[in-house]
Amino acid sequence: MQEALFWIVSFIAIACALGVVLSRNPVHSVLFLILTFFAISGHYILMNAQFLAIVNIIVYAGAIMVLFLFVIMLMNLNADAEPQKSRLVQFAGALSGGALFLVLLAAMRTAALSPLEKTTNDIGLVANLGKVLFTDYVLPFEISSVLFLSAMIGAIIIGKKGDAPNREVASGEQLDGMDNLVNTEQLSTGANANLPNAFTEADELEAIS
């Protein structure tokens, strides 16, 4: 039973991973990757690591992939605009990846590994993992909170850098008069007519005036 489930879930994982690489539409790639993460969560459940299975679904499939999906929708990417490498480079990439797979397989084929234990079944449960996390791994846990804080600040600063000139224009407008506002509004919509945010900027200026 367990072996049959292993083969089914492994097949789903590898097929969806190949779908991530081979599909031309980026949205399809994201959806295939979500399916791959669900298959990997299935493997975690098969190995009785329920906590990691749930965290994998919540963090990866729930948060990270939705972020990817939002970014792809924000950029309006589709299969037509997808840049493609030349056939030769694609073939070389596939060949080198396959060669690496064969080399690693040949190296690890004879590794002396004992089969998966069946006796200790409760190591992957929340109670046990929480006990270990808050006794042996308290310091890394606290440091990871600092890491999250710095990542959050970094993401906000990097994200703000792009639209800083717009903000300067908007704040400069507030100081100047109404007549100036109309001029710069026309200028800004004319200058960035191809930008998608030109319209929002104009709306913003109207709202200010």
Partner: protein
């Protein structure tokens, strides 16, 4: 269930991720392939944790997920910034970084 099966499965997933990184030009897809490689390593760590009967490897997986979440937020911010500057997510456009 032999541990070798999980070893080979995560090797296959890791090599598919490497292939995707080498074959694609879209920065977001390359990023997703890196996530795939991280997940294959997580799978192998959980299998080894099961094999040895220790919980430490599962906590390493937990910390890898924490770091991956932070990495994705910063990396996607960089990709969005790049899209705003050059209106593309093609990594070949960024080759002027080498000059």
């Amino acid at each position: 269930m032999p541990t070798q099966y999980y070893l080979f499965l995560s090797l296959a997933l890791f090599c598919i991720g490497i292939m995707g990184t080498l074959m694609r030009r879209n920065a977001i897809i390359i990023f997703m392939c890196i996530e795939l490689m991280l997940n294959s390593v997580n799978l192998l760590l959980v299998a080894f944790s099961k094999m040895y009967g220790h919980a430490d490897a599962q906590l390493f997986v937990f910390f890898i997920m924490v770091v991956a979440a932070a990495e994705v937020s910063v990396g996607l911010a960089v990709i969005v910034l790049m899209y705003r500057k050059v209106h593309s997510v093609d990594v070949n456009i960024l080759n002027r970084l080498k000059h």
